[in-house]
């Protein structure tokens, strides 16, 4: 009964009206929603940059095979040349330097 009487009388002196209280609640809600949206955007932005960059920041490099694979398939540089019996006096000598 006392509250009903108070509501009928309106806010007391120095107290915000119901409209002002509603506006204050709306301001708080807007701030909370804005902060939440900014936070979600920031997390999504950083996540996207880290996991799916739109463009490379450095020169593109070809996809490399694992070192173990490269070692397994790498051609040895050690292969033979072709020699034959000599046909004229040699202009040069192979020796230990």
């Amino acid at each position: 009964m006392a509250a009903l009487a108070q509501a009928e009388r309106g806010p007391g002196p120095g107290q915000p009206s119901r409209i002002e209280q509603a506006r204050a609640r709306a301001r708080g809600a807007k701030l909370a929603v804005g902060a939440l949206a900014t936070l979600v955007f920031g997390v999504a932005f950083v996540g996207a940059k880290a996991h799916a960059p739109g463009h490379a920041k450095h020169h593109a490099r070809p996809l490399a095979a694992p070192v173990s694979f490269e070692q397994a398939v790498r051609q040895s540089a050690l292969s033979g040349g072709r020699i034959a019996p000599p046909v004229q006096p040699p202009p040069v000598v192979s020796s230990t330097s």
């Binding site: 070692q71 790498r74 040895s76 540089a77 050690l78 292969s79 033979g80 040349g81 072709r82 020699i83 034959a84 019996p85 000599p86 046909v87 004229q88 006096p89 040699p90 202009p91 040069v92 000598v93 192979s94 020796s95 230990t96 330097s97």
Partner: protein, 279 residues
């Protein structure tokens, strides 16, 4: 006959025919400027002196080191680029022409540190103090590059390791000759580059397991025919270090080789005999 030109580079005599001597000299100067252990401003000197664990090296340095690491794989670690400190411990710490005939005893042996080195592109990671010596591949790489720049048929030889464009007859250690039809020919051995420390004979072909000059090889000089000077040079060093197993090891790879034994006898592996007989 194509005129033959001679000059000195990388501590040895360079002989060439079929190209511009100045252009070939420029190739050798560039390689020596980067990879000399004795030039104070060479990149190798800076790399060896650096206290950083990670270094960004030049494209040429990275390329040669990659080749050296591949050579180590191909030879099961016999040709090893991490023996710079071992060579210095044996007394080879300055240009060979400046080495005294004898000196204090060799320092503590330094064996291979191949597993401590990584090269990713141009990023080199290795502990400070690991000293590189790329002489096992650099001279041959310079020869191969110089031959690639020849304007006509000819050859380039550095200290007896050569690559050819077109057939060239080449004299062999201990006498005789062979025609190199294509590819390179290289000789490794202990006839030259010998010195003494503490009265003990030293040479530059180190056993990577001990960090000391290889003393149990029966060979004095090993000559190998390869698809390039690099292939021939790496194979000749490995075959020397393999000792008695050298001829068969090269036969497995189809590389013709001629071995001069310490006693003076000559051994031809099966590939050499086959090529000379069949051609």
């Amino acid at each position: 006959m194509t005129p033959v030109h001679r000059f000195r580079a990388m501590g040895c005599e360079v002989v060439l025919a079929g190209g511009d001597p100045a252009a070939v000299a420029a190739v050798f100067a560039r390689w020596e400027g980067v990879f000399s252990r004795f030039l104070p401003d060479s990149e190798l000197t800076h790399v060896n002196a650096s206290t950083a664990w990670t270094l960004h090296v030049s494209p040429l340095f990275a390329r040669a080191l990659r080749v050296a690491l591949d050579a180590a794989v191909d030879t099961d670690g016999l040709v090893d680029p991490t023996l710079g400190a071992a060579l210095e411990a044996c007394g080879y710490d300055r240009d060979f022409s400046l080495l005294p005939d004898d000196g204090p005893p060799a320092g503590e042996a330094v064996s291979s540190r191949l597993d401590e080195l990584r090269l990713d592109g141009r990023i080199l990671r290795r502990p400070p103090g690991l000293r590189l010596d790329l002489n096992g591949v650099v001279k041959a790489l310079a020869v191969d590059e110089a031959v690639g720049g020849l304007s006509s048929e000819g050859f380039v030889s550095a200290g007896g390791d050569l690559d050819t464009r077109g057939p060239v007859d080449v004299g062999l250690p201990g006498g005789g000759a062979v025609r190199v039809v294509c590819g390179g020919l290289a000789t490794s051995g202990v006839v030259s580059r010998r010195w003494r420390r503490g009265g003990e004979e030293q040479h530059h072909l180190l056993d990577p397991r001990t960090g000391r000059p290889c003393r149990d090889s029966p060979w004095e000089q090993v000559t190998v025919s390869g698809a390039s000077c690099l292939a021939a040079d790496v194979a000749a060093k490995a075959a020397f270090l393999l000792g008695e197993d050298g001829p068969a090891w090269l036969d497995e790879r189809g590389m013709a080789a001629r071995f001069v034994a310490c006693g003076g006898g000559v051994v031809l592996n099966r590939a050499w005999q086959r090529e000379i007989v069949c051609t």
